[in-house]
Amino acid sequence: MIKTKLTRDTFHVFQANAKNALKQSEQVPSVLICAGTGCIAGGSMKIYENIKAECEERGLPVYVGLKHDNEEEKSLHVKMSGCHGFCEMGPLVHIEPMGILYIHVKPEDCHEIIEKTVLGGEIIDRLVYHLDGVAYPRQEDIPFYKGQKRVVLENCGTSDAEDIEEYIAKGGYAAFEKALFEMTDEEICKTIIDSGLRGRGGGGFPAGRKWDGARKQKSDVKYIVCNGDEGDPGAFMDRSIMEGNPHSVLEGMMIAGLAAGSSEGYIYVRAEYPLAVNRLKTAIAKAEQYGLLGDNIMGTKFCFHMHVNKGAGAFVCGEGSALTASIEGNRGMPRVKPPRTIEKGLWAKPTVLNNVETFANVPQIILKGVDWYQNIGTKKSPGTKAFALTGNVVNTGLIEVPMGTTIKEVVFDIGGGIPNGKKFKAVQIGGPSGGATTGSEEHLNLPLDFDSLKSIGAMIGSGGLVVMDEDTCMVETARFFMEFTQKESCGKCVPCREGTKRMLETLNRIVDNKGTLEDLDLLEELADTITNTALCGLGQSACKPVQSTLKHFRQDYLRHVVDHHCPICNKEKPHPTIVADKCKGCGKCRKNCPMEAINGAVKQVHTIDAEKCINCGACVGNCPFGAIEPAKEG
């Protein structure tokens, strides 16, 4: 425990001690219980309590934090870690130094885990991950982890997210220290520009250029803002980073502060992520306590203060100018640009606004250098990217792969393919602002990077990958996304406010089998107009799911508008019905039906064949007994 704020020298001493403590700790068995949102929902807190209780009962002393020199020998570490990523298999328990991963752990398994594995070194086969009859007791051998390269998520799942000492022991805040004492603001910007780091929020704008732009602005006050408003449904990369490695985000922001000449940082987090908010607040408090945040950091003139702002449930706040408006306490509505955020952002001051994952990449780039970073990923999109792999896929979870990994590798090698023997149909990339790719070889072999996906009308987005199987109707999916964007439209600009509403109406009509071929043209035309005229990114990308499904899954639309029946949605086709009590069996409707869809003998009750009926209504008007009710509006 430290009492005074760290200077550069005492930081070095602290760092050396922490590293030593980490080394010693690694000699002792560790039980890491995943405490990400997913595993907590699965009951991992109870497992943590049980493991601790189990140790207490046996009189096994447990370390709190790392093991230090002067500390007595204890039996094991019990830690809550960040997200391991393999959420489908949660709750997860990882045991070091054997590298064992136990899946679907229940509170009642704790006794056996301590007894057999921790003390006896025996593997409990029942809790081991199995695939095709093969057991994978070691985490690193599991196919899900094998294809990944963890840079940003490296410490998620292996560290106690709330322990700043462990973060420092693993190289944390060393990049900040280097930037603070050995680099000028210009050098930091140049390093980030040269590294080719691009914004992970979806835009892919070079982060270094943004920083350099803000650096050149003349202003006494500048801000660093971290966008943790991960509103894209089906994405949780940023949440996992904030929960599992909050210090890396703080460190990245502090380095940005040095580069741009700012002394104030804001992290805007969705209110739906209470754990991330708490972990960030804890991390800030610890960093302040050690003097890594606050005034005159490490005895220099550099001051940096950090704030956490909770969102209040508005997707549009993921847009830069809407986000800053929300921090200011206003309605989160975007404004016209220019001026850009780097010129006039938060409180009309120059502002660097980056995504969580972008900031989390920064410390490692500063520490390991531009060449190291450039060697990962592709030339134009260096580095790794975290993806949330969800939907109809065997291994749902959080993954990190080098940029340029193909969709096929992600869905089939890491994701394990489609469950229940179903066929792959599509991947929606980038959520409601992205497009869908098909199961064609060409699409499956597309590399996941910022530029390749644009060629087929999709985009990498923030990194949500939702896999869909053959039981998914793409029209219904497009409608789902449109309903989402329509609801989240802030209402400031007409194309988005009115356009998305009309799009949704049309899509609803099509899904209900009441659409026509002309509706498809209408959708295309509207989509074009909205995309070109909306004010912000939300509106400009709102039609992407419709446009890409119209292009790649037209067959699904045709089923709804031509056949008026989609076997997947299986919604009843609208058609009139004959009321049996009133029908006299005169046959007038049968003779008038252009589709020969009405059957029945004379003086017998007639029926309408839904398959053949086109809902023209000719029978309704012609019935002399008022026995035919028109199709229900619905």
């Binding site: 209040a312 306490g329 869909m468």
Partner: protein, 159 residues
């Protein structure tokens, strides 16, 4: 000012009556009272020195704020993409039917439950999910969801 608003007043003071903290203040007041009453909104406007229209505009803009009193237990069914693909819709419909909710009604007649949807909880690996009073329930089915509500009803009537 009535006594009922003492706590709200304290919350506003704790944020130094600063306008930039408007959202945080409303969040905390809602956490305390479980909704934002007209009186509370007026008080916020007075103390921050802004118009009631401004406070109302912010309170109605964000999805998380509610101007109506909510039920004792708040159920949120995730309507995110991953949950949608894994059929969260039928769960929502089943709960709606169970609570006899129609039209815009979100709270059951006995005032016990309020049903809402949430855009994404980020627990996609456990889809479909729902929360009851903030606690996440994973891999839900309509039957499992109704069993949970049934359980709460039983506990409530026992008290």
């Amino acid at each position: 000012m009535s006594n009922a608003l003492t706590r709200a007043s304290e919350i506003i003071d704790s944020y130094n009556c600063e306008q930039s903290n408007l959202i945080a203040i409303l969040q905390e007041i809602q956490a305390e009272y479980n909704y934002l009453s007209e009186a509370a909104l007026t008080l916020v406007a007075e103390k921050l020195g802004v118009s009631t229209a401004k406070v109302y505009s912010v309170a109605t803009f964000y999805e998380n704020f509610s101007l109506e009193a909510k039920g004792k237990h708040i159920i949120k069914v995730c309507a995110g993409t991953a949950c949608h693909v894994r059929k969260s819709g039928p769960i929502y419909d089943a709960i709606r039917d169970y609570l006899n909710l129609t039209g815009k009604k979100k709270t059951s007649d006995d005032g016990l439950f309020t049903l809402e949807t949430v855009a994404c909880l980020g627990a996609c690996g456990l889809a479909p999910v729902m929360t009851i009073d903030g606690e996440v329930h994973a891999k839900m089915t309509p039957d499992a969801a109704l069993a949970l509500l049934e359980q709460i009803r039983k506990e409530e009537s026992a008290e």
